[in-house]
Amino acid sequence: MAVTDAKVPAKKKAPGIRLFGHKVPFSAQIGFLIIAFNLFLMIFAPFLAPYGEGIVPADLQKWANPSAEHWFGTDAIGRDILSQLLYGARLSIGLSLITTCIAFVVGIITGFSAAILGRWADVALSRFADLILSMPTLIFCLVIITAVMANESAFVAATGISNAFFEGMVIVGVIGFLYAVPVFRLSRAVAMNIVALEYVEAARLRGENIWWVIRKEVLPNAIPPLVAEFGLRFCFTFLLIASLSFLGLGIQPPYQDWGSMVNQNAQVIFLGKPMPLFPAGAIALLTIGVNLVVDWLLSVYSRAHGENA
């Protein structure tokens, strides 16, 4: 059962670590460890990487097998794969975090507004959400990218930003928009449930204004499902960006994220060299870690509130 005393300090020795007053099972501990490890590597990449970003080492070797100097081997132009992997973490994880945050801000604002305003705003937004959700995400994403990228040269010439920055913005914008839709759905449903509760009605009858009700009454109670959704959404975003880059439609050279590293190293797998497996494995590891934590969060939430909350 859910433990309610929230003031138990997190101690290693006691049977089980606690967080927010809930016991953290072994699987979720592994998940947290994987996430922390990835964040650590991402933040301290310049100190950890044996070679600089995009630097071709003096002992130029193309497609060198893993060795003491190059733990994960080298790529087509002799760059150290471990170093590229560490720097690539910043693009992969960083862009996914930014995209997920955008999806959340947009989704939550529209979702809560739809639930509280009701009527035509709710109907219009919900129908639009239904339509977007009925489309396969990757396919629709590719169609939008085709359309937006056709503006690249004109936009770059007009604003003076770099091509790479424009491409990054397109990825973040398109995926942020597409994944705002499921967040909208969820936060609308959550807010609908909460708005119908007595304490919210009481607050409205007291004459509190609508934003006060959202901030003080709706949001705090909507947090647990939204946190789990954030983890899940991060996974989807992370995988979608990686897939786009893998297909050669995401991050473009000379910049590399993990997905484009898989793409650019793929050719040697035919010779039995493991190079593309390292970035692909890094992607797999982080998604597994986040999923382990999400599974735990969802089970905690459904235990405390009933399945259909």
Partner: protein
């Protein structure tokens, strides 16, 4: 029940139409200049004008949409900007390859998922159950290309059991086609089997908690007969629904998997067309993928209405 199904089908038709509007106007409303984006350095006044003429850019937007849609319904999507041949001619063999791969994967994945799910439910809490669950979590989490390259690395590069590339063409005989498409098929199976398996297990376990199952036990039936004869039929509705939904997912997963194994299907075609800004091909592939995806979603709903006994026999 017929009324419900008819309603669902009508809604599905509206969704399909709305999807075509969404796909077409996404590419048409943005001011992008596809002609110069496609030609890049080689853009001259003449060939830019030729591409614009090919896209009928001088006609009003709504007319262009109705032309495109009426062509699409008849299976015609105009000419490819790259090869200047009809898009439909280029799509046909690839569409066949993609469907071949997807159906191949579905035929393996569905029985496997139901079998694993039922076994896990029978032996709930056992090592087998936990092992299958961990396996499901892992395959749900990892990207398709990781599984694909892993399989390729071991089964094709190291042990040389399967070919590295799935180079099939129109003249490849059926059985060697099965062999060439084996690794991409297994990758797709691993991706979709987990969801279906989890759902089978969950819905069988839910039914197992009901009193009539206890009755079946008490009259002395062996466990497998209780599960297969008494629990499974009543657990079928959610399972059928999830299977149809995952087959829809298969259609999308195929894009990445085809790329990994250089399998000549629609997914590869779409990706190439996107990188070359070949709009007619992007529109055609996008529409076909969307139609199949939405179609399978409608099928999932209709099947779950039909497999619900309460809706099948109205009072």
């Amino acid at each position: 029940m017929l009324k419900l199904i008819a309603q669902r089908l009508a809604l599905g038709l509206i969704t399909l139409w709305a999807a075509s509007v969404l796909i077409f106007f996404t590419t048409a409303l943005l001011p992008g200049d596809f002609a110069s984006a496609m030609l890049g350095q080689q853009a001259t006044a003449e060939n830019t004008a030729a591409i614009r003429a090919e896209l009928n850019l001088d006609r009003p937007l709504v007319l262009r949409y109705t032309d495109w849609l009426s062509g699409a319904v008849r299976g015609e999507f105009g000419n490819s900007l790259a090869s200047h041949r009809p898009v439909s001619d280029e799509i046909k063999p690839r569409l066949f390859n993609t469907f071949f791969l997807a159906i191949y994967a579905a035929l393996v994945a569905v029985p496997l998922a139901v079998f694993l799910g039922v076994m896990a439910a029978i032996r709930q809490g056992s090592t087998f159950d936990r092992g299958v669950n961990v396996g499901a979590l892992l395959t749900i989490s990892v990207p398709e290309f990781f599984l694909g390259y892993l399989l390729m690395m071991f089964l094709a590069a190291h042990f040389r059991i399967f070919p590295v590339l799935s180079a099939v063409n129109a003249s490849t005989p059926f059985f060697s086609r099965l062999y060439f498409a084996f690794l991409p098929m297994i990758t797709l199976v691993l991706v979709i089997v987990a969801h279906m398996m989890r759902m089978t297990r969950a819905s069988v376990l839910q039914v197992m908690a009901s009193p009539y199952i206890e009755m079946a036990y008490l009259k002395g039936l062996p466990k497998w007969r209780v599960v297969v004869q008494h629990a499974l039929p009543n657990a079928l509705a959610p399972i059928v629904n999830v299977i149809a939904l995952n087959l829809a997912y298969l259609v999308v997963g195929v894009v990445v998997v085809e790329r990994v194994f250089v399998y000549p299907g629609m997914g590869q075609m779409l990706v190439d067309a996107v990188s070359k800004r070949n709009v007619p091909v992007v529109l055609a592939c996008g529409l076909i993928f969307a139609v199949v995806f939405i179609g399978l979603n409608i099928l999932a709903d209709v099947l779950s209405i039909m497999s619900n006994p309460r809706l099948r026999h109205p009072r």
